[in-house]
Structures are given as C-alpha cells and as structure tokens.
C-alpha cells in the first residue's frame, strides 16, 4: 500500500517540476549542439587559413619547379616537386614495409601501379629527386 502510494506520488509531478525538466532538456541539448559546433570551428578555421594563404602561392611553377639556390635569380623559391616526390616515395616505401628492395621488386613486377607512376614522375625531375630516381632506375 505504501509503495503504491509512493508510486502514485512519484507519477504526479508538479507543473514546476515538469517545466524544470523541459528547461533542462532544452538547455542541455542546446549545450551539446553548441559544443558540436565548437568542435567543427577549428576544422573550418584551418581549412580557411590554408586555402586563403596557400592559394596565392599556388601556380603550375609551384608544382613543377625544382629547387634553385637563393643566390641565383628567382631562386630560393618553392621546390614542391622535390618535396612531393620525396613524400610520395616515402609513402610508397612505407607501404611496402619500409624496405627499398621490395619496392624495386614490386615496381618491376607491377607496372602501371601507383608506385610505378610515382617512379615515372620522378624520372622527369631526376636531378631534383636523386634518391627516388636511384631507386626507380633499378626497374627500367
């Protein structure tokens, strides 16, 4: 009997209590939404800054020019070719177990793969990418 009364009392909530529950619900869900938005702000900020600052430097020459010393005309600029090939070479190499030999064997046995294309690309700027071209020269 006592527990039944207690249950009835529990079910009969005052309007103030109901209002409090509703307010808490809205407030907490609003807070989670706000925090979700805050979590995305850094991404938007980074992407905006990278594109805003980086797009002004982007040009065909940026992607194809090799390193020039600062002492010569127009020197000291970007050398994305060298970096790009070094980076792709590292990625391909790491994927093949961080070993040179499997990379060579793989490329020789698997033409027209990503690593093969990287090697082909590397040969076009071999003076700038000596390490990569030395690896890829094994295969051709």
């Amino acid at each position: 009997m006592k527990s039944q009364l207690a249950r009835q009392h529990h079910l009969k909530r005052s309007p103030v209590h109901e209002q409090l529950r509703r307010t808490t619900n809205v407030a907490m869900l609003g807070l989670t939404g706000l925090m979700t938005a805050l979590a995305i702000v850094p991404l938007a900020w980074i992407m905006f800054e990278v594109f805003a600052r980086g797009s002004s430097a982007m040009s065909p020459a940026f992607l194809t020019d090799t390193f020039k010393p600062t002492s010569i005309d127009n020197g000291g600029g970007v050398w994305a070719c060298h970096r790009r090939h070094g980076h792709s070479h590292r990625m391909g190499n790491a994927a093949l177990g961080a070993d040179w030999h499997p990379g060579r064997v793989y490329v020789s046995e698997h033409p027209n793969t990503t690593l093969d294309w990287q090697c082909a690309l590397a040969r076009t700027c071999s003076p700038a990418c000596p390490r990569l071209s030395s690896v890829c020269s094994f295969t051709r």
Binding site: T32, T36, A39, L43, I46, V50
Partner: protein, 326 residues
C-alpha cells in the same frame, strides 16, 4: 553407370589435414599467429633496445633522472622532470578541453537527427584527424596563437593571474596553454568518432523504451545511453590521451621548448617527445644520447601504463550491469 559411381564418390572424405589445408584453416591460423607474435616481438624489442641503450644514463644518473629539474647537456646534468611535467600538463589540458566537446558531438544526435546534421557533423569532425600534425603546428604558430591564444592568455593572466599560480605571467604566446589547446583540437576527432560509434551501438529499443516511459531526450541520454556506452567512451578518452602524450611535431612548434619546471600554463615548457625530436641531432656525447633514449623509455612506459590502466578501467566498467553503473 553414373548412378553407381555417385555413392562411391560421396564416401571419399579427405583427411583432417587435407580438409584444413583445403579450406585454408591452417595457413590462416599460421598467418594470424605470426602477425600476433611479430607485433608482440616489435613492442618487446623496442622496450629492450630502449632499456639497453639508456644504460649509461641509468648507471650514472640513476633515479634522480626522473626528479632532477635541471637539463644542462653542456654540463652533463640530465634531469627529465620538466619534460615529464610538461607532457602531463599539456595532455591534461587537452583532455579537459576535448572531452566535453568530443562527447557532446554524438550526444547531439537526437536533437538534430531530423535535420540530418548529425552525420555531417561527425564527418567534419573526423576530417580533423586527416590533417597532418605539422599543418596543425604551422596553423598554431601563424594563426591560432596570435589570434586566439594570446588574447585568451592575456585575459587569463590579467584576471586570474593574481590569485592562481596556474595563470601567472609573463605570457608571450608559445606556452603549455597553446600546446594543450592544439592537442585538444587534435584528439577531438578520436574521442568524438569512437564515442559516436559506441553510442550508435546502444540498442534503439533502449532509447525508445525510455522515451515511451516519458523521459525527455536529455534524460534518455543521461540515464540510458550514457551508462550503456560508458566503457567505450572511457576507452575513447584514454585513446585520445595516448595520442596527446606522444604527439611531437605540433607541440614542438607551439610550446616554446624551454626546459623549466613551472606551475603556470602561460609559461613556455617542453615535452618528452619534443626534446627527443629537437635535440637528437645535436647529442654528441654518449651520455647525452643515452639521456634522450631514457626519456623515450619513460614515454614508452607511460604510454604502456596508460593503455593497461585503460584496459582495466574498461573491464571494470563493462563488468557492471547498467543498474549498478547508474
């Protein structure tokens, strides 16, 4: 003729070995066992090598290596306390900031499910994990510190610095606070993505039952969903903390790299990963190199200990029933 041969063919059964080989069971088990042993051997090998190579420092400096606050390679004085404290402080700041933000993202699911924004927010927050740490570092130096950390640090120093040693000045931008904030952004997708996966694994019937009984959406989250996925969420936090402990490049670029023991978050500091990255190239003496390797050993042990603790924590939470947890 063919009807007579059929029963004879059916009676031919291969030997257990032949059957296993035919279905690839044995090769599969061998490959799996080899992979497991290789992983374990790699971890043990790294630990053993770090232990052996750090022998000179352990023999000469001993336990004071952990408590000594002076790091002076020229004078051959090696104390790792500033790096240990710097690592723990930045990781702690990162976790304190990232946990509420990372948890809130999957919790906002019920409120914005109708607008289909939950998936897009999860997608965008996961994209943060794809940004290389050096980009975070460059963004931190050129954008985040001047535009956000410096005003925030100055405000903290002027308003709270007089009462709390945590925010004592002077403040120049590169600091533990900057490193902690950058780390928070970096570990956010880890915590958010794993928490979301854990919470999506909560049976839909549980949510619906709570809502049918009159619970509000927040009460459903707090009293039903959260207790159900608590172990997974704790695991997500520990994974994020593990990443924060070992992060090198972005932290090195924004923390200031000063080997000092300070209570202020606004002062420049140093972390264990940063000192190894910065000073390895100039470690000319055997003792200097050995000291850096011992810092690596400490970092390795810290990460290992953290993972063991996380596993124990997840086990202890997972063992309890939802009623016990509530």
């Amino acid at each position: 003729m063919s009807t007579l041969q059929m029963p004879r063919q059916l009676k031919v059964t291969p030997s257990p070995l032949g059957r296993a080989l035919q279905h690839g069971d044995i090769p599969f088990k061998v490959v799996i066992a080899l992979s497991s042993v290789t992983l374990l051997a790699l971890m043990v090998g790294v630990g053993v090598m770090l232990w052996l190579r750090s022998e000179p420092t352990r023999a000469q400096v001993g336990w004071t290596f952990i408590t000594q606050t002076t790091w002076n390679p020229v004078g051959q004085v090696f104390g790792a306390a500033p790096f240990i404290v710097g690592t723990l402080a930045t990781s702690l700041v990162a976790v304190l900031i990232a946990v509420p933000l990372g948890w809130a993202s999957p919790f906002s699911w019920p409120s914005c499910a109708r607008r289909n924004c939950a998936r897009s927010s999860a997608f965008w927050s996961k994209l943060l994990a794809a940004i290389p740490s050096v980009v975070y570092g460059a963004w931190g130096i050129f954008v985040f510190i001047p535009q956000f950390v410096t005003p925030l640090g100055n405000w903290l120093m002027n308003s709270l610095g007089h009462y709390m040693p945590l925010f004592h000045g002077p403040f120049f931008g590169a600091s533990s606070l900057a490193a902690g904030l950058i780390l928070a952004v970096m570990i956010l997708p880890t915590i958010s993505a794993i928490s979301r996966d854990v919470l999506l694994a909560v049976p839909r019937s549980q949510r619906e039952a709570a809502l049918a009984l009159g619970s509000t959406e927040w009460e459903t989250i707090w009293q039903v969903v959260l207790p159900y996925g608590l172990s997974g969420i704790l695991g997500a936090v520990i994974l994020g903390l593990g990443r924060a402990l070992g992060e090198t490049m972005a932290v090195t670029m924004v923390i200031g790299n000063v080997a000092q023991l300070t209570t202020s978050l606004l002062s420049p500091a140093y972390t264990m990963a940063s000192v190894i990255a910065n000073e390895w190239g100039e470690s000319r003496t055997a003792l200097y190199g050995s000291a850096l390797i011992e810092i690596g050993l400490l970092l390795f042990l810290m990460s290992l200990l953290l993972n063991i603790m996380a596993r124990l924590l997840v086990w202890s939470v997972a063992r309890k029933t939802p009623e016990q947890r509530a």
